[in-house]
Structure formats: structure tokens, C-alpha cells
Amino acid sequence: MSSAPPAAGTASPPGRSRRRGTAVPSGVLGFLGIVGFLLLWELVVRAGIVEPEYLPAASTVLSELASIATTAAFWEAVGWTLRTWAVGLAVSGVAAIALGLVIGGSRFLRKATHTTIEFLRPIPSVALIPLAVLLYGTSMQSTLLLVVYAAFWQVLIQVLYGVGDVDPVADDTARSYGLGWIARVRYLVWPSALPYVMTGVRLGAAVALILTITGELVIGGGGVGTQIALAQSGGAVPELYALVVTTGLIGVGINLLVRAIEKRTLHWHVSVRREAVA
């Protein structure tokens, strides 16, 4: 996962992966890996090593997925999950960026809030599930509360790092040219912090999806997570697996989307230009 703090792993030398030429390009190998995995899964079940009631064969699960993908209820659940995810991420992202810029911009605030942030951040957001249920019942807000809490810290921490990373010389220059607070944020702090912000958004997006599905699973209220809970209690095993595969596909889709956005927003930045080579 490329989600290390920006300081780590900067020493990836370009062209290392091309040191020895191979006949098979890595994309093909990756495809073979997926096909091999599916075959192995199918074989393990067909050979009777695992009971099909516990683990249905790959073909069963995939055809189940294909058949539920034609139902409106499935797409409604997927849409519901994506909406919760997007709203949660947007709310936490905006709040964290705004607060991060204000706190990070002042030495006093940074020092004064440090312990509070370090205390609140590691609180697992699932601890809030009982509170969410009490406050909002099984509505979307319950899940949103978890999502916003979890994603908020991911983004906030990165924004604080980013604002702290502004080049002091550039900052002094901006001040001596008489740039005000808003202009400094706009032209200096924001561009310097943007790579960190995007890392935070990427981490936050993944965490938000986990918490969206978790909330739907445990609290209920609609979405893919609730469908999974229903399939489990109804003993619909192939459907259960098909829905789990769906969550994986949603996750991959979200990762790709966020990475594409990151690349677009940061196309001018060294990290992206270097990543393109590595």
C-alpha cells in the first residue's frame, strides 16, 4: 500500500523494476494470478476439500453475482452505500481541511491542540456505534457519524503535517512581500500542503468505505452492508459471497478513482512525476 507517511519510501530508484527483462509483462502475470486463484478456488470446492455450504465454488459465486447484478435492489444498495461514503468523506474532508489550515497556521493552536488530537484520534470509531444508534436509530445519519469521525482524523493529521512542511524561506518571502493570511494560504500553504492533503483524502476514502459498510452491517439501514447481514441471517451463502466480492470491487473502484484524482490534482508535483517513472 502506498499509504506510508510521505517521508517513508522516498528512495525508490527509478527503473529498478526494469533491471532484468522478462518475456511476460507484469500485467499478463497479474491476470494469470487472478485466473489461477479462481481456478484453485473452484478446484478446492469441486474436489470436496471444503463443503460447498461453507464455501461455494467460484463459478457459483460469480454467476450469483451476475444474476443479482440484474436486480434493481442490488444497484439501489450499491448506490446507497456510495452515497453514504461520498457524503461522509465530503463532510469530514471539508471540516478537516478547514480546521487543519487554521490550527496548522498558528504555532500556539498547534501546540495547544496536540494532546487533545492525539487523544481523540486513536479512539476506534466503532466505539461510537451505540451512541449513533441511540441518537439516530438505524438511519443513514448513524452510519455517517462513524464515517465522518473515522475519516476526519486521517485527513486532519495529513493537513497538519502538510501545513507544517511549508518552506520557511518561502513563508518569510511571502510575509516580506506583505501577503495577508488569505493570500498566503491560497498561494503558499495550500499548494505546499496539497500532496499531504491528497494522501489524507486517499487514506480517508479507504477508511470511510470500511466504516460505511461496517455501519450498514451492524446498525442496518440499507446499503450493501445491510444486504450482507440479511444474506447471512437468511442462509443465502452464494449471495453472501457475491456481496462480499461486490464490496471488494467497490473498494478497488474507489482506490482507482482517488488515485486518478490525486494524479490529476498533483500532476505538477515531483512525487507524481517520480511515481510515473518508478
Binding site: A4, S12, P130, L217, L243, G248
Partner: protein, 257 residues
Amino acid sequence: MTFVKKAAYALGLPVLLIALWWFLSRDTTNFYVPKPGELATTFVDTWIGERFRTDILPSVARFAIGTALAIVLGIAAGVWIGSARRVRSLLEPLLEFFRAIPPPVLVPILILIVGVNDRMKITVIVIGAVWPVLLNTIEGVRSVDTVLLDTARTYGLKGWTRLRTVVLPSAAPQIAAGVRQSLAIGLILMVISEMFASSSGLGFTIVLFQRSFAIPEMWSGIVLLGLIGVAVSVVFQLCERKILHWYYGQKEVQHGR
């Protein structure tokens, strides 16, 4: 900075917030919001004593075993996959997919396969928490400095020695970043697996309090989970500082501080 000033910065805001909470809840009788003093006494009454042994210890033990296994497995598999280029490109898309599955959905599947017991809960934690460590180790091992590797080869370092003195230290900062995420996920899964199907443990007990409208007890449970989260993160930071002290030293030199 003097000690007093440091303490004022560290404790100022928390003290202010608690004072505010106390002030605002002073003469309300709101059912949902306990008073600070009330919460503190409930916390002691609820968790210190019998429940410490029956709920806290088993939960924390499951969390510790699960994440420890996940970390060991993740580093071992990560070193192997990261240093074999073909294995890496064979498995990469597959791993991307498995990582993208939100770990809590594994709970229903594992209930099906393993049943409702400790083994299920530990398995959930291992399967969910292994990905950040695994993928960060792969990435860390992959990006070990080539000059360093070539030098090690010239000096004839092989096998275990090469791993211990070159590969693992270079990958360590990134592995640590993965471990941090794994701990957070492990904690989430500890709670979720207990909320979903269990008759003991923190997750179970807190949901029970909520369903029986034992509000101060529920709040004290939330506080307890928070404290566990904070404790885990403090322990992790201490270990990280100790193991990676050379790395932080280097960074401080680079930043000229």
C-alpha cells in the same frame, strides 16, 4: 521551554473542555448526557472488578494475539513477495482486491466457516489486519536502495544476514507505517466481531448497555474503548521510537533541527 509551559500546553485544552462539559451539564437532567463526575464513578464501578477479568482481558487478549499474528505473517509474506519480482507481479492485482474488501464483511463469512468462538474472532482480526503490513512490507522491500543491495552483494552478504542487516532495516519505516494501520483495524475488528456474535467481550457488553438504556454505563464503555485505543497508540509510538531511532535521528539531521 520550561516544564510549566509545556504542561500548560499539554493540559490546557483538555482541562478547558472538561470544565465546559461540567459547566454545561451542571443543571440539566438530560438522560443521554452524563455529568463528568457521574461518568467517572460509573466507569470505576462498571469496569474495575469482575468485568475486568470477564470482558476486558479476553477482548484485549484476542486483539493482541490477532494483530501479533497479522504482523508476523504480513512481514514474512511481504519480504518473500517483495523480493521475488515475478511473484509480485503475479499476486499484485489479487492482493489489491483482497485489501479493498472492508474487513468487517469477513465476520459473517467466518461465522459460517469457523462458527462463533474465539478462533473466529482472532481469524477475523488476522485476515483484516494483515493487509496494511503485507502491502507496506512489499513496497518497503521493493524500494530498498539498489546501491545498498549491490554493496551487500559485493561483500558477500547472503540469506538471513542480508535480510537482517540490509533489507529489513531499509524497509522498517514503511513497515512501521503499515503496523500502525493494522493496529487500528485490529481494534475495530475486535469490537465488531464481538458486537456481531458473542456473549462476552467489550463490544458485546457495550451494545448490551445501549439496548438496555444503561446510558452512563454505555458512555463509560465508549471511554474505555477510547482509552484502549490511546494506550495501543502510545505503546506503538514507544516501540517505533526505540526500533527506528536511527531513522528519526537521520530525519532530524536532514531537516536541520
